[in-house]
Symmetry: C2
Subunit: 219 residues, 2 copies
DNA sequence: ATATATTTTTAGATGATTCTAAATTATATT
DNA sequence: AATATAATTTAGAATCATCTAAAAATATAT
């Protein structure tokens, strides 16, 4: 059984390792969780003892099979709660993250399965991130950052890489949302900014930073 | 700001003091929270420093105005979540307590107000306990234990004193539920057991223990 | 290949919550 | 009022998660 804090470490490590594949460094974890490397060093040794990660001194850590399962359970809960907040309680997509960070630690298998059914077994959360099923199966569709599209290309916004309120509110202002169709009207080589058309009507300028954090599926 | 553990202490003290009125002893708190008196002694000194209770050495504690407000906020959250679990997620009334114990500590004023609206501003939880409103106002209707009713008296079941799964499942078996009409058919002086009629049909025997934990409103 | 910079780990300390055991205070009984 | 019993508090220790400062290991750059 993992503590709340341990769950947060594991989740961060899982995200940093891109689904449990890559090795993750102590400093990267410290940055992600806003703690000091010394604290991370302690904690990863504890998580290694609990067999959810494999730790080699000075070499960083890798998520184990058990660790991946545990991480996906937390992620499943986080994303289901986000759907609940947006679809049932009328939260905006930029308001859900902090609350879901708390709700994801509620321990009750019955609760999460009932919630999943209540929401109609949603496949993605309000930011387009896929929701693992009860068995931990997560299906990711091929998506690429908007700024990689060629001039004239058309695509549909499927997800956002950055779920911070600041970024999401910016997208709200632009009129960009999940499911919206976009077309690249102009690309500025110099700073990677673009001019895009949203839903065959609105035309907006977006910076490189914004373009990198919008994930699309090409038509 | 109170920690999760502090909130649990304060809530227990509030309940033991019958709404913040009475003085509560160290041992009573230890029993209620299943900790040792020594731990309680430490914690009540901390809660006194935080001004939510008033502590006098060797004399027990009393909830302050601020403490009552804080306790009612936690109780409000607990009961609203219970309503959500039963009405929206089809939990039985004996399954909600442990989950609500976790959910009551989620910190988000927006969440709880949205949840309250979503549920239609319920006035009581699945055990008949009144839900404080956002201002902490809690309206209690006059209720008495079933076993105090006279022979032949009729009443409506309004709440239960004991919310343990064991007791609630027993009530399910008897066919007793909130809102059910009851009539006292027989009273046994010797052991305080009774024979009662539920909803003008079922006739059941109930022990003194059961009768004391069912709260009714007389017609 | 060696010096320097960076990363990581360890050592030692702190605060929160809990415990056991011992000491103290209050209460109840004769 | 004296004593026995019960309740309460304190002292000291353990665990969890965190930190700073210092040491050790690894990586990088000439």
């Amino acid at each position: 059984m993992l503590s709340l804090v341990e769950e947060n470490y594991l989740k961060a490590i899982y995200h940093l390792s891109e689904g449990g594949q890559a090795q993750v460094s102590t400093n990267a974890i410290a940055d992600a969780i806003h703690t000091k490397p010394a604290s991370v060093s302690d904690m990863i040794q504890k998580l290694d003892r609990k067999r959810v990660i494999q730790y080699t001194k000075y070499q960083g850590v890798k998520v184990t099979k058990e660790g991946k399962e545990a991480a996906l359970k937390v992620i499943r809960k986080h994303r289901l709660w986000e759907v609940f907040l947006v679809e049932q309680l009328n939260f905006n997509w930029d308001e859900v993250h902090d609350v879901a960070e708390q709700l994801e630690h509620i321990k009750s298998p019955l609760l999460i399965e009932r919630l999943d059914a209540f929401l109609g077994h949603p496949k993605v959360d309000p930011h387009g991130d896929p929701i693992p099923d009860a068995q931990g199966v997560i299906n990711t569709k091929p998506q690429k950052p908007l700024h990689q599209l060629d001039l004239g290309a058309e695509a549909i916004i499927r997800a956002v890489k950055d779920s911070s309120p600041a970024f999401l509110r910016h997208l709200d202002k632009l009129g960009a949302y999940l499911g919206a169709g976009v077309k690249i009207l102009e690309k500025e080589e110099f700073d990677n900014s673009m001019q895009i058309q949203i839903d065959q009507s609105t035309v907006v300028f977006i910076s490189n930073e914004v373009g990198q954090n919008i994930l699309v599926q090409e038509n």
